[in-house]
Symmetry: C2
């Protein structure tokens, strides 16, 4: 891969930001690497880990002279951070982010991006339940989707900037998809936000039971619960922001989910065996579709599959 | 491990039954292995795979002369099957099962077990989303819990039978726990049955959306949804039975879950950031408890952790 940017500035060096620094450097996608994080402790870790050539004390200093500025703060801070650094952005720079809710970022970018700056909201669909600069790794984006939600611009320089940013994600091993921001938010509400909400909720419900101890829940968590606890260990601040920033889509999907769950509950109460089995046969087929589409291996993997 | 039983009869040779045959033989826990399955096709596969010395055409023939009879049919068939073979059970034989709902089995066993037969409901908390005799493997129970729910008997021969059955599961690599059947059903409703119900439901909800295509759902399933699809691919007949047999505990836990979900939904609608974050911090701590308790590694595992 050849160098795509002279100076990459990553603002916010948690799991995702630090992984971008590692992955971009591993692929040689930028000439120099600048970084900023609000936390002095994180900044020292980034320096100690050698993740950036230029660890800056202000976001403006990191952004200055960068031709790619990538904001990887918690979602609610992306818009305000874009506002803070707007004046420092170089003409011709690309401004992007990695947040899970895209319409809010698009609105913020449209409101503040100076003329001559290419604002392109982005979202790598990748992560783990770990947080912080030590949790990042260069392979995080490999084989994952990176979704870009470009502004409604069709001028050649903007399209060229979008193409270059696509190459950047491809260079880190991702497949790139372009999507309308609002549609992105609906798709992710289903495939990511609702699953996280449900997982947080079930773990909370389990913790509140009087007749089952927490140690019993942990002990027998291999029965399915364990997968939920992993999801429910994801970054609390990030997810608080995602649910609030993508409120409309999340509540819409959640309402449908709840409606379906009531119907399922009723089918159990009334012993409607056929209805239950029909749903379960159908959902199994969807899984087989995912496996067939190569999204995941169908091979049994000892010890990690959840159980009955 | 020394031989614990002269003749082990496994009735129902799906994922679990065939894994018991494999694991018991690998550990040398029985002298001879008998098997029966309702499906002629499964019986031929069991014979072709060499999983049993004696593949029988009737459950009575398999059970005859066996000192351990293990029923591994779908849950709703366990009671009726116990009734079918009752007359064929040898005096001194142990009758057990592997179903996920235990009070119903205990009631059935108490109703039909002839005097001199030791009926001991059991449940290995292990499995994968695969089904059938080809999906089984000898290591399935290794490091997993096997729960026994003995009858309220304190006579020495019964206690000796329970101890021997415990050794059988230990011999296949499991840790054994004794539990009251009703308590088992409540614990598993939380750690296994509700997670499966939720997973089935969310996959169904996603499939019904008009504005998001199934292929989009699959494509971006790495965002958390994928874990749910794996769970929702579990055996439809088995799970239909589990929900119906453990109806009371499942509906009780489901009602609490729904109540909590309504509160969470309200917190999102009204932008109660602190409430959301407090829950998410709490659920993360529970996960760390599970990891600390050694139930699962905290190591990142590339490509299998779910994502944002």
């Amino acid at each position: 891969m050849s160098v795509l940017y002279q100076r990459l500035a990553v603002i916010g060096c948690g799991l995702i930001g630090s992984s971008v620094l590692r992955a971009a450097r591993a692929a040689g996608l930028a000439q120099t690497y600048a970084a900023y994080d609000r936390s002095a402790e994180v900044r020292s870790r980034v320096a100690a880990l050698g993740l950036a050539d230029d660890v800056c004390d202000t976001p403006q200093a990191a952004a200055a002279g960068a031709d790619l500025v990538l904001i990887a703060t918690p979602p609610a801070a992306i818009g305000p951070m874009a506002g803070q650094i707007a004046a420092a952005l170089a003409p011709g720079a690309t401004l992007t982010d990695v947040g899970s809710a895209k319409q809010a970022v698009l609105d913020a970018f449209e409101a503040i991006a100076p003329e001559g700056v290419f604002a392109i909201p982005g979202h790598p669909v990748a992560g783990t339940e770990q947080s912080g600069p030590d949790a990042g790794f260069a392979e995080l984006f490999r084989g994952r989707w990176a979704i870009l939600c470009p502004l409604p611009r069709t001028d050649a320089p903007y399209l060229a900037a979008v193409a270059r940013l696509s190459d950047f994600w491809t260079g880190m091993g991702s497949q790139v998809e372009h999507m309308d921001a609002r549609h992105h938010d609906l798709v992710l509400a289903v495939t990511s936000h609702l699953p996280h909400l449900i997982a947080y909720n079930i773990v909370g419900t389990a913790a509140d039971l009087e007749d089952v101890t927490e140690s019993e829940v942990m002990k027998f968590s291999a029965g399915g619960f364990r997968d939920f606890t992993r999801i429910a260990a994801s970054d609390p601040v990030m997810w608080r922001d995602v649910f609030l920033l993508n409120k409309d889509a999340v509540l819409e999907i959640l309402a449908r989910f709840t409606e379906d769950l009531q119907a399922l509950s009723r089918a159990i109460r009334w012993g409607e065996a056929d209805k239950l089995e029909a749903l379960f046969v159908r959902t199994r087929a969807i899984r087989l579709g995912i496996v067939a589409a190569g999204q995941e291996s169908a091979e049994p993997n000892f010890g990690r599959n959840r159980t009955t």
